[in-house]
Every structure is written in structure tokens, then in C-alpha cells.
Amino acid sequence: MAGERQYEFSWDFIGDIAQGRPNLGNMTRIEVYRLFQYTLRDVLEQSYGTEEADRLLYRAGFLAGTELCKKFVGRCESLEEFVKKVEALLIDLKIGVLRIEEMQRDTARFVLTVAEDLDCSGLPEAGHAVCNYDEGFIAGVLEFQTGRPFRVREVDCWCTGDRTCRFEAALAGETV
């Protein structure tokens, strides 16, 4: 990469919202969030192709999942306690309704769903899953607690006609 980095993530970029937006506050609309994500996705795809754009979103999601857990959840004694906190946080921040369907401790495989997802719920059917950012996000969340690298794949998505997004997670290197 040429030169020094200017945008290595830090919570400073989130800024002092109370001071910066005394009248508008810390809320915006989903349309704005999606406008941002899908315009960025548009230009990423144009510049790097679909697959690479998906990969970049996955990586950004991973970073977001990790940072969010670092700041709002912290590592927990048990996986169950951690999951409970993450569920509560995602509802609190209105990111989506996370639900665990399956947790195989021995093989570290998870199946989980996110309903009312921030990225895709309500989008027209596209015939393919779109929540690459969420995939990375969940991978980041799981790695944060377990210390092990996960690979997450969205198997059902609102955009494939399913009413809830379903993700399968397994340790990286194993087939999801």
C-alpha cells in the first residue's frame, strides 16, 4: 500500500455525536445506511468485480463485528452468555434479530439466523444472497469470543426469497 494509512479504523471516526449533532442526534434512517452500503458496493464492484467487492465487504464486516464486540460486549465466561449479550446488543442497536439455531461445541459449527436484517430485509428477490458484510460480521463476532478463525456463509437470504437470513459458521479451513 502506498504511503501511510489515513483510515485505519478507530472509534474516533464515530466521533462525539452529542457535540457534533446537537439537534439531529445519533439516529438516521435505514435508507441512508443502505444508500451508503449499496453505492459503495456499486463502485467497489465496478472497480474490482463482484467477487472481490463481496470479499471486501466481508472483511469490513469482520472488522465491524470485532470492534463492536470489543467496545460493547467484551469476552465472556461462557459462549452462551456471550451469545445472549450479542443478541441483546444487535436488537439494541437495531441491527437485526439474531437467533441461534444450532451450536455444536465439539466441532465449533454454528447455524444462526438474522431476521429483519439491516442489509437485506425487504430487498427485491435477487436469486443470490447479498449479506457478505453480515457474514464477515458474524465471523468477527465468533472469533472475538473463541479466539479461533471462522468462515461464515449465508445459505438463505431475504434476497433469495427467504424471509430470514441464515448463516452457517465453521472453523476456517473446514467446509461450511
Binding site: 431476521a115 428477490e125 433469495t160 426469497g161 427467504d162
Partner: protein, 332 residues
């Protein structure tokens, strides 16, 4: 358009009119949706209808998925997509999550809440609330029964078995494990005489008052139990027999100075004490035998105090628990 049955191929000469063909297509779809075992739509005529095959295949997948769900096969993996199957997948996801929630409850987490599936979630949540309430009540009752079964109802002091449990806990505690401790056995003098002269109610009052004195006269870490009728056993962890002797003497003073008036008459009460040193726990750790042997020595010293004229303390004159000393060693 995909799935259009008025395709060119069926407008050939000699073909049945469109209305008839449409009717057969509708029947094939209807059968696929409604009959338990629909016949395959393999009439040559229908084979030409573009998209019908894949439509029927999707309906078949929908049937299979619905039937699997009806059978309760929550792991059924539906490959097809679309709103109807998607809605079923949503239901499947809810049920699968519910299974997980139930597993969480089974493992003891009663804070699980369901916020979907309408009336069902209300029932589910009220079930976990009830369960939580019931368990809380059970814990409360268990604690109360434990308390009742651990304590002597008259004096509120530990009974023998609770004393043994507590002694085991204290003597193996990091704080006291490697230190000497002491046992004090105490008996109210001429208790039978008090009972005979003033009645059993007065005897009970004496027991209660003496217990109260022992309770306030001891350190927080000491434990005391009603060992027998008018006999008390005290464990003072982490102190030498010599220090315990001092404590016993103070308790004896307090008993002697206690003022009890029963039906207008003063009741004179004194107590005797036998002290015994408890060495630090050996390799075997805590055993009931270890405790019993030392209680016997304290009891022997109490016997000596009685014989020596009562209202006195015997034992604890020598401070070395390992010395096998006359007064308090196990060899005596």
C-alpha cells in the same frame, strides 16, 4: 415469459384448443398441490408446456418441505427458494431457535425469552417465568429446611451434624489449614437440679440464655453447637489451646454473672469447660475420626473440671499441640 403455456408449439394444427390445454395444466398443478400421490405430468401434450416441469418440481419440493415440517423434521434442508418456501423456512428457523432456547432452559438458563411466534411466545415466556418462580421458591424452602435441619430448635445453635460439616469446612479452609485450633467442651453444672427445682421451662430458658452468651462471647469464625442435653461444643479455629482456655474462662465468668430470675426466685448457673488443642490437619486431611478423638479429649478434660469442683476450666495450660502434653494432647 417463463412458464407461459400458450407457447407456439401447442398452436400446431390438430392441437387441442388452448382452453383445453390450459385446463390440463391447471389440473396438473392442482393435483401436485392437493393429491397425496400426484401422477407425473408426462402426457406428451404437457411436456411441451415450457416451464411446467420446473414449476411442478418446485411444487413437489414445497410438498416435501411442508410434509417434513408437519412431521417435525426441523433439520430438513430445503434447497428451493422463493417466498412460499422462504416463509416455511422462516417458520423452520423459529422452531429451530425455539429448540435451542429449550435446550438453554434445560441447562439451567431461565432468563431465556422468546419474542416471536405470537401467542406461543407469551405462553413460553410465562412458562419460564413460572419455572423461575417455582425454582426460586424451591431454593428458598430448601434453604429454610437446611437451616431447620442444621440448627437446634431450642437454642438456635448448630446441631452435631451441622457442626461436623462446618468444622470440616473451617479446618480445611486455606486460612486455618496449617494452623492449630482448639476445641472447648462445656456443660452446665447441676442442670438436672435446675430442672427439678424450677421446672423444665426454666431449664429451657437457662439453655437459651447460656447459648446466647456463647454466641456473643465468641469470635465470628468460631462455631458452637448444642452437643447434647446441656452440653455445648465450640471450635475456635486458628488459635492455641492456651488462648481457647482464656476464652472458656471468660465464658464461665459470663455464665456465673448471668442473672436469671424464675417466678421470683434467682437461679444460680455455672458451667464447666474442657479444652483441647487441635493440631493442623495432617496428610489425611479432615476426618471425622480426627474430630472425634479430639472431642474425646476435650470431654475428658470437662470430666476433670466437673470432678475438680465444677465452675472451672481444664486443659489448655500447655500451648504446644504437638507435644503430647498432659492437658490437651491426644496421647493423654
Amino acid at each position: 415469459m417463463k412458464g407461459e403455456f400458450r407457447s407456439e408449439s401447442v398452436e400446431r394444427e390438430g392441437s387441442p384448443p388452448s382452453a383445453e390445454l390450459a385446463g390440463r395444466v391447471v389440473r396438473a398443478v392442482e393435483e401436485a398441490l392437493k393429491l397425496p400421490h400426484p401422477a407425473p405430468a408426462d402426457e406428451a401434450l404437457l411436456r411441451d408446456v415450457e416451464g411446467l416441469d420446473s414449476l411442478l418440481e418446485e411444487i413437489a419440493a414445497l410438498r416435501e418441505f411442508s410434509l417434513a415440517m408437519a412431521r417435525g423434521e426441523l433439520d430438513y434442508g430445503a434447497r428451493h427458494r422463493g417466498v412460499v418456501i422462504g416463509a416455511l423456512k422462516g417458520l423452520q428457523a423459529n422452531l429451530r431457535h425455539l429448540t435451542w432456547q429449550a435446550q438453554r432452559i434445560a441447562s439451567g438458563d431461565l432468563d431465556v425469552r422468546v419474542n416471536f411466534l405470537g401467542q406461543f411466545s407469551e405462553a413460553f415466556n410465562s412458562m419460564t417465568d413460572q419455572l423461575k418462580g417455582t425454582l426460586r421458591e424451591k431454593d428458598r424452602l430448601a434453604a429454610r429446611y437446611k437451616d431447620l435441619s442444621d440448627h437446634d430448635p431450642l437454642t438456635g445453635l448448630y446441631n452435631r451434624s451441622a457442626f461436623q460439616e462446618e468444622a470440616a469446612r473451617l479446618l480445611t479452609d486455606e486460612l486455618f489449614r496449617e494452623r492449630s485450633s482448639a476445641l472447648i467442651m462445656s456443660d452446665i453444672d447441676h442442670f438436672k437440679r435446675i430442672n427439678d427445682s424450677f421446672g423444665h421451662q426454666c431449664g429451657d430458658e437457662v439453655l437459651r440464655r447460656v447459648s446466647g452468651l456463647y454466641r456473643v462471647g465468641l469470635r465470628q469464625e468460631d462455631i458452637v453447637c448444642r452437643y447434647g442435653g446441656e452440653e455445648f461444643l465450640i471450635l475456635a479455629p486458628g488459635i492455641s489451646a492456651g488462648v481457647a482456655r482464656g476464652i472458656a474462662q471468660r465464658l464461665g465468668d459470663a455464665v456465673r454473672e448471668m442473672r436469671i430470675v424464675w417466678e421470683g426466685s434467682p437461679v444460680a448457673v455455672t458451667a464447666s469447660f474442657g479444652v483441647c488443642a487441635l493440631p493442623p490437619l495432617g496428610q489425611d486431611g479432615f476426618t471425622l475420626r480426627f474430630l472425634r478423638e479430639h472431642v474425646q479429649i476435650a470431654d475428658l478434660n470437662l470430666y476433670r473440671a466437673k470432678h475438680g469442683g465444677r465452675d472451672q476450666v481444664v486443659g489448655g495450660d500447655c500451648d504446644d499441640a504437638d507435644a503430647g502434653a498432659e492437658c490437651c494432647g491426644p496421647e493423654n
